[in-house]
Subunit: 308 residues, 3 copies
């Protein structure tokens, strides 16, 4: 399995991340599909740097994760980030793609599932993203691998819920079925990504990074449960997309799916692009705001968990 | 992760349970949601003590499991049992709630999922309950976390099947899909909780506690399969709820769901309460009988497994 | 848990397999339900021997897996193979049945799920079969335990896809949800078992046994993902069942299900038998061809993975 003693597929670590992990300093994992596939160019690279800066501003080291030339890198540098943000040859890597992509020497951006699994394997306990995947509307078998992967990875995932273009209620049921913990950050209402409240209630609210860190410590000390803790972090109501606008755009989008006969894998990109154009870019600005807030909260949790 | 060397979230053990586990003596795990949420007061406390006694009468130590002030306790004492049976501030804790509840310092009663995971972590191999959770009727995504949790916990769960208010057929399919073993105790018909026979057949029947203990030993020695073994223990036909009454009450209840527009999470409590009133309390008496029988069988299995 | 120091339920190994595993020589796991339940007698025994020979011809040791008198045997001998091929008392053993069957002293043939789990426990990394299980048409809860089991077993499964009598699209979605890797062998079209192309596309193609071995090595070195890699190996188009015949027979079969009111567990055997008779045995010949090809490819992968 190795050439001259070098394992060709070992995970590589950025210097700063490697030293933080060695020292027990706070680290926050970040994904890269938002960079490669989630945000339009050239904003994607700017925003990716802002997310890393939000982690730093709150006292933690960002560990942005991706694949370069078949190697998983935890803590990519700015040159590698630029490559993933600008190349047209970047695969979207869920957890099941990591080994096959490595064998083909691919460049790749990791999804929530891929990043969660790598973070857990690397010993990084907190991960910030925008929203997590879920169950697709009207497609009972089309369920993101994020959910099952979270059920296997003992991390904290800070997100703003699930995009409303998915079936939020079914997604919450699956998280319950799969044993994934969910708590609101200072709320018992599950956030709706673009909007502060999805309309679905939560059983638990945690009110400080210290309390969240205590929950992570409890999980480790109890040794009973090995799934993720989703921290659902809503936008303040004055920063959300106007809920009336949101509901109208969503209803229009769903109606267009019907009238234009769009089904299956085409649904999500269609609805996201519809949101972007129908809100004249406001949905995108909201998307960026919530990610930066999630990165900041994740860093505060990592700091609290590191006991510093 | 600790204050003055004391880990604040470690599992606590009752003295008798701790010493039984140390000695390899037979222990049976018991859940507490039946005490806090499943049975009406003040019978709930009486019945909880009877269940513990049924375990003792059959040669094993009862390990009733709950959370007190944020601490998981395996083998709660009578004072703690009384607190969970009488307080109005007792959370219902599935496996995914354990760490978050601990961080909030809650009192809590553990579900089948929560208890199974704690028992497995504590090294207790046999668990007795009334019935396990399952798939909800007419709600494809509403599937109890019990099923996925059983797929992860190498314990034996003694129960009387699944309440008929759930979708029994879909539940059996999910158990098959998830790789959870199911065997009837002296029957190849899956019991129907209140009634002896749900109408669904099983592939395997085991005819003695010794044979069941052999299956648990086989699982351990093979080292191939790490999911639960459900022992489906039917009531004798002369102790069941009259099947004609059962079927009529169930049909009435399902019709009322339709006519009163009851859906989602309201379905199960509505149907259970309907059974209670429409059978003039007979369903409750049957419920208690089957739990006591399951506790006795579980103790016999634990004794056989301990090789005493 | 043992009698005179002998563990009664330990896995037994055939001599040749035991020595190959000790030496790190290439080994391929083979299942036995195809022998006991999948193929008509007496061809079943002949074909089983041909499959083993195909493994040998390509440089690896066949480890045919089954249960004899309650013992799992990895690498059954010809006498044991004959017993499973000719007895009428052979249980069909999925992973969840292994311990219970052992406790009853049964003879049994292992399914894809059962064989995958045993292979993984025995340290055998490559497994060849015909087709894997999947989601049943029109039966949302009827999903083969193969899928969840593959999500837990870090093996390579070489197969020709999923029989078209199942819901192929839903099966591919479940594999994605569960995090099971799928790659085509020299194709990006998922094969359709009897036919070379199911009509569904794949994200990844691997073009040599060495490349597949590299993916297995990457998975191990990364340490992130612990599920199976399905290698989908299509028949060459000139060896497939004529696609027009296939589509007509499938449509006829599905129509007959409706008109004859066949549902549930009766669907699959009905459709398989319909294929057999309606193609005048050609579907069976195709079935045998694809298994032999899968066995050969699996052996080549095992050889490449062993680095010889
Ligand atoms: Mn999908
Ligand atoms: Mn539910
Ligand atoms: Mn099935």
């Amino acid at each position: 399995g190795s050439v001259l003693g070098v394992k060709e597929f070992d995970i590589s670590y950025g210097d700063e991340v490697a030293s933080a992990l060695r020292d027990g300093a706070p680290v926050v994992a970040l994904e890269t599909t938002i960079v490669s596939h989630g945000l339009p160019r050239p904003d994607n690279l700017t925003v990716a740097r802002q997310i890393e800066q939000a982690v730093r501003d709150n006292g933690a080291v960002p560990a942005t994760i991706g694949m370069l030339g078949g190697r998983i890198v935890v803590g990519i540098d700015d040159e590698q980030l630029t490559r993933l943000a600008t190349s047209d040859q970047v695969a979207k890597l869920s957890v099941r793609d990591l080994a096959v992509a490595a064998a083909t020497g691919a460049d790749g951006a990791t999804t929530v599932a891929g990043t969660s699994a790598i973070a857990a394997a690397a010993g990084i306990g907190v991960f910030a993203t925008g929203g997590m995947g879920g169950v697709h509307r009207g497609a009972p078998y089309d369920e993101s691998a994020d959910l099952v992967t979270l059920a296997r990875c003992p991390i904290a995932l800070v997100c703003a819920g699930v995009k409303s273009i998915l079936d939020v209620g079914a997604t919450l049921e699956r998280l319950e079925t799969l044993g994934v913990s969910v708590a609101g950050y200072r709320t018992t209402q599950f956030p709706g990504f673009f909007i502060s409240d999805s309309g679905f209630a939560l059983d638990w609210s945690l009110d400080s990074p210290e309390r969240i860190a205590a929950a992570l410590r409890a999980r480790q000390q109890q040794g009973v449960h090995h799934s993720a803790l989703v921290i659902a972090n809503p936008l303040p109501t004055d920063e959300q997309l106007d809920p009336a606008l949101h509901d109208r755009v969503l209803a229009d989008g769903l109606a267009k799916l019907d009238s234009e006969g769009i089904t299956g894998k085409a649904v999500t990109p269609f609805l996201l692009s519809h949101f972007h154009s129908a809100t004249e870019g406001r949905s995108l600005a909201v998307n960026v705001r919530l990610i930066l807030r999630n990165a900041a909260l994740a860093a505060q949790i990592a700091v609290a968990a590191a006991g510093r």
